[in-house]
Symmetry: C2
Subunit: 342 residues, 2 copies
């Protein structure tokens, strides 16, 4: 999303889902001012974060959108067949599409000519930049403090924690830059590489490019958006490639209060936070040791007392500072990060 671009979020069937609708929820949190409507026929007439929810593209046109953002993230990143009608209609009505799924719309033999005829853009946020290669070691020369969010699972708020830390740091006058590594972060920040969409061999090279670029943009503190989890049966490779390629000095471990098992992977337990801290520190490259500075606890859905108890339990378990940066603000966690990188 370009700055100020009037945006319709397409979230058909998923606007109430914080897991599969995480792109929508992230954009609503950090680019709210540019969102004019949300499309989800199951919730017509409702609203989300004050944004009206509409039934179809024609109704949405009353809000004068210029771009339709695909607001859902499906497992595997492909389009459910029913979505193609929706995309076609958007294009016919003159909307550009911004898409973060693995399926590349600009290569689509049906949608590409439609978009050309309509004079609209098909922007694939996950398309890797050309010329990627393996990491060269230039990451170790980046003159900035690098902070990576890691987690006990996917889709538990690593991007949000990085964005909240970045905001808190900038409010203190620190030259901080958020480094986007996934489609939602890219939609929000307007740059970045979706590391899960690059050829595996170039994962570390993509991560390296991102921290080099973050420094070039003036970052003295780089808040790198984490991906996946070292203990996730499907996504751990992306996590480790990003970890080693972004060469963080400091990690922030994110955890959803009460989670004991990887979501969607029954029988895959989440170990204790203390064990996760050790595992992550141990997996650092010897050339760039990393410390976990603190725990970011996602307490969404808990009441005040429940949240306070969950944060206290996490701090106790990990033996580290803990907070929920969304509920409590990110200042305490930022202090821990700055202490650890001093």
């Amino acid at each position: 999303m370009a700055a100020g671009e009037r945006t319709l979020i397409l979230a058909e069937g998923f606007s109430a889902d914080t897991h599969y609708g995480k792109t929508m929820h992230g954009v609503l949190r950090y680019r709210r001012a540019d969102v004019v409507a949300i499309l989800d026929s199951a919730r017509t007439g409702e609203s989300e974060a004050g944004v009206p929810i509409v039934a179809d593209v024609d109704t949405a046109l009353a809000y004068d959108p210029r771009v339709a953002l695909v607001g859902v993230a499906t497992q595997g990143g492909r389009f459910p067949p029913a979505w193609r009608d929706l995309l076609r209609r958007c294009i016919e009505r003159g909307l550009s599409i911004e898409n973060g799924l693995h399926e590349m719309l600009a290569d689509d033999p049906e949608l590409r000519p439609l978009a050309d005829d309509a004079g609209v853009e098909l922007r694939d946020l996950r398309r890797p930049p050309p010329g990627l290669d393996c990491a060269t070691g230039a990451n170790l020369d980046v003159d900035a403090r690098i902070v990576l969010t890691v987690g006990s699972d996917c889709a538990i708020g690593k991007m949000t924690v990085s964005l909240e830390l970045d905001r808190a740091a900038r409010e203190r006058g620190i030259a901080s830059v958020f480094v986007p590594t996934g489609q939602t972060g890219i939609a929000i920040a307007g740059w970045g590489i979706a590391v899960d969409a690059v050829v595996s061999d170039f994962l570390s090279g993509a991560a390296e490019q991102l921290v080099v670029e973050g420094r070039r943009r003036g970052g003295e503190l780089l808040l790198v958006e984490g991906q996946g989890s070292l203990i996730h049966p499907a996504y751990s490779g992306v996590t480790l490639g990003l970890y080693h390629g972004s060469v963080p000095h400091v990690l922030v471990l994110c955890h959803r209060a009460g989670a004991t098992e990887i979501e969607g992977s029954p029988g895959h337990p989440i170990p204790s936070l203390r064990e996760l801290v050790r595992l992550h520190e141990r997996m650092a490259l010897p050339r760039r040791p990393a410390r976990v500075a603190g725990i970011a606890v996602n307490t969404a859905g808990l009441d005040e007392q429940g949240a306070a108890e969950a944060v206290a339990a996490a701090a106790e378990d990990a033996g580290l500072p803990a907070c929920d940066p969304v509920r409590d603000g990110a200042d305490a966690l930022l202090d821990a990060v700055l202490d650890a990188s001093a």
Copy 2:
């Protein structure tokens, strides 16, 4: 390489290099009977494993090759510019090309029409199969004992160790299948997926498909070719994705005798074997614990006494059985693998 297909290995400038020439050396070791000549103008008139080395494509034609195999693996997997002339000449002379680099020859706007005119094939070994997705959990249902080679670095013989274990197992009448995960293994075995060339998000799914396919091919013991290293600054993501996606019961840790640093990455130390064993066992998914059964020591270049000392030192360091399966045969290591998976 199809069975019995007369093969010219293209190794210009690299035929003496065991690192960048590892595809050539692997194919010479396991598909020697099908190799009729090697092209490397710097070593014209010499031979390698009894195969004549020739200066150019026209000279090679005397040996009646049907396919030219790209025998080098460059970092990043792209073609040095000088190679394009060589490929063009092969195509013009009626040879199909088998290529394991990241650059896809079948998509090349210059070589594709040339090959069509000449009626030859451009086979890209690293091209991912269509329709890959994330792992589904079907890997955990594979009714076979799964053995993965891991290592302290890249290009130290993980594929060779898997192939030697597979051969030793089949000699004992065990229904063993070698599971290829990289271009050289695919050239040798004629099937497989180069996991480093798949989109990162689908690493685990590709690894899952491979063990499912290994079982479908009758394997009760699956020897999965390892890739990279958990401690390699550029390739660790591929290693972990393959590890978690192939859900091994048993690991064999490969190490080059005397190596103390990652090759090509100065300042990146290799920890002790004991520490590497612990790290690898710790990184197993809790749902599928894995034990390191033994150490495969690459003693190439050492004399008999030096090799024996290196193997003894590795066994002592790791506290596990150790041998060099190329020098000593794989039986002792196979015993350790079978014990560990009993």
